[in-house]
């Protein structure tokens, strides 16, 4: 098992976090904190000595600023594939090169445990037909699973049709949904574990809170 970097989420997923050699998809609207889960996942890997790769359509400086904003130390950073600020560039119009670069970086570190976090799924889904993206991600994740790796991908809710998201969810071993819910006048951020390899369905909602000291996940009783 691979720690999520969030102890309460590790507990929720069976004490140890995400399953080995798995791929996790986190779906949610912009600004809700999907990236923060990715940051803690990468941070945890860096602390444990795993090889960590962050493939992003954003500039490295933006990601580092976000990390600092949620209290994550940037003393140790992952290897980057990004739109700017990294030796290897992330070109959204060239999906093949992104896949090649990710596989190449992972293959170079085949003797270590590997963590890959990426936010390029949504842009690629917008720019390419869903059928080709289904094949693309199936192939990429299958290749990465040949090694001891866990892939963490983000998808933007509200940018794709329900059918598109449901199709992509099939490709991943675990799916976490983060959304805002209305309860009376209050608005509550909740998430659901829609599926997770090796775990029975986790019924119900979980409340999460992000602060400068970390992220907390607790069962939500309606």
């Amino acid at each position: 098992m691979v720690s999520t970097g969030v102890p309460s989420l590790d507990h929720l997923l069976g004490e140890d976090g995400y399953p080995d050699k798995s791929s996790i998809l986190v779906v949610g609207p912009p600004g809700i904190g999907k990236e923060v889960l990715g940051y803690w996942f990468i941070r945890s890997g860096l602390v444990q000595g795993d090889y960590c790769l962050y493939a992003t359509h954003r500039p490295v400086s933006d990601v580092l600023r976000d990390m600092k904003g949620v209290g994550i130390s940037t003393e140790r950073v992952p290897e980057w594939i990004s739109s700017s600020g990294s030796p290897v560039r992330c070109d959204l119009k060239d999906a093949t090169s992104i896949s090649f670069n990710v596989k190449e970086a992972v293959h170079r570190n085949r003797d270590r445990r590997v963590r890959v976090a990426t936010d390029v799924l949504s842009p690629l889904l917008v720019l390419n037909p869903v059928e080709s993206m289904y094949s693309y991600w199936s192939q990429l994740l299958a290749d990465l699973k040949q090694q001891d790796s866990v892939v963490f991908a983000l998808a933007e809710d509200g940018m794709h049709s329900t059918n598109t998201l449901t199709t992509m969810e099939q490709v991943f071993d675990g799916v976490i949904e983060m959304r805002l819910y209305e309860e009376g006048l209050a608005i509550t951020p909740l998430f659901r574990v829609k599926k997770m390899l090796g775990l029975p369905p986790l019924h119900g909602y979980f409340r999460f809170a992000v602060s400068s000291t970390g992220m907390e996940v607790v069962p939500h009783v309606h």
Binding site: G14, R192, P219
Partner: protein, 268 residues
């Protein structure tokens, strides 16, 4: 018993507009509390300021001695104008954030800073005019037939600068809104546009209605303020998609949580 339906209607409109603005402020505070992204929190912050300014402006307009339209209300009016520009700026930045290519709509990132500087310079000019009016012993600094030309220019330049900046900001917001793939953001821009249309009608319709010169004409224009407040509320609710908890799935089974498949009881 005599019932003044016009007064009753007027009171209902005041209550509706204030209620909608208060509800929007509360929702914006809630969104500010739960959103994590800095750009989105910043947008919520400036929206709260903008809504508070609107509420203040509206309530002030109902007062017997309104502050904002008095000579002493100039600083308040300018604070509201600056808040409006920063509100527009924060929305453009949030919209650009949801564009995967982070394109700078109409080069707002370049134009934004000079725009704020231009407004600050413009405000400084108005303040200088007010001070000069004091020294020149002119009865009023307002845009009247009797005021000297430099007082007129000092006042008009502010509205010109503010108008140009807001018009450019609106164009940048629409451009950025068209580029984003996020349906929620597009809905937000649409709602904000409808709200601004309501405000524009509120400000302009009272001129023709004013010929009637009675309370009914005020109601006619203020209905548009209610419409504008309603769409502002809808715009705030478009910060992020908000769902409702499925009560059937709203409780958590302590058996299922954190228990590996092999040790778990059958799923409920």
């Amino acid at each position: 018993m005599f019932i003044d339906y016009i007064d009753l209607g007027s009171a209902a409109i005041i209550l509706a507009a204030s209620g909608l603005l208060l509800a929007a402020i509360y929702r914006a505070i809630e969104f500010r509390r739960v959103l994590v992204g800095g750009v989105y929190r910043n947008r919520a912050n400036w929206t709260i300021v903008f809504l508070l300014a609107n509420l203040f402006f509206y309530i002030d307009g109902q007062a017997v001695l309104p502050y904002l339209s008095s000579d002493g209300g100039v600083p308040g009016f300018m604070v509201i104008s600056v808040a409006l520009v920063l509100f527009v700026d924060s929305n453009i930045r949030a919209t650009q954030e949801t564009d995967f290519f982070h394109r700078d709509a109409l080069r707002w990132r370049v134009f934004g800073k000079p725009a704020v500087i231009a407004i600050i310079c413009s405000i400084a000019t108005v303040v200088l005019v007010i001070v000069a009016v004091g020294f020149a012993n002119i009865a009023t600094w307002g845009l009247t037939n009797t005021s000297p030309w430099w007082v007129d220019v000092g006042g008009f330049q502010y509205f010109l600068v503010l108008g140009v900046v807001l018009a450019y900001g609106a164009a940048a917001l629409i451009t950025a809104g068209r580029r984003t793939q996020d349906r929620t953001m597009r809905r937000f821009v649409r709602m904000l546009g409808l709200s601004l249309l309501g405000f524009v009608l509120f400000f302009t319709i009272w001129i023709p209605l004013g010929y009637f010169g009675n309370a009914a004409s005020d109601i006619g224009s203020e209905i548009f303020f209610v419409v504008a407040a309603y769409y502002l509320y809808r715009a705030v609710m478009s910060f992020s998609p908000v769902g409702r908890v499925d009560v059937g799935a709203g409780t958590v089974s302590p058996v299922a949580v954190g228990t590996p498949l092999s040790q778990s009881a059958p799923a409920p």
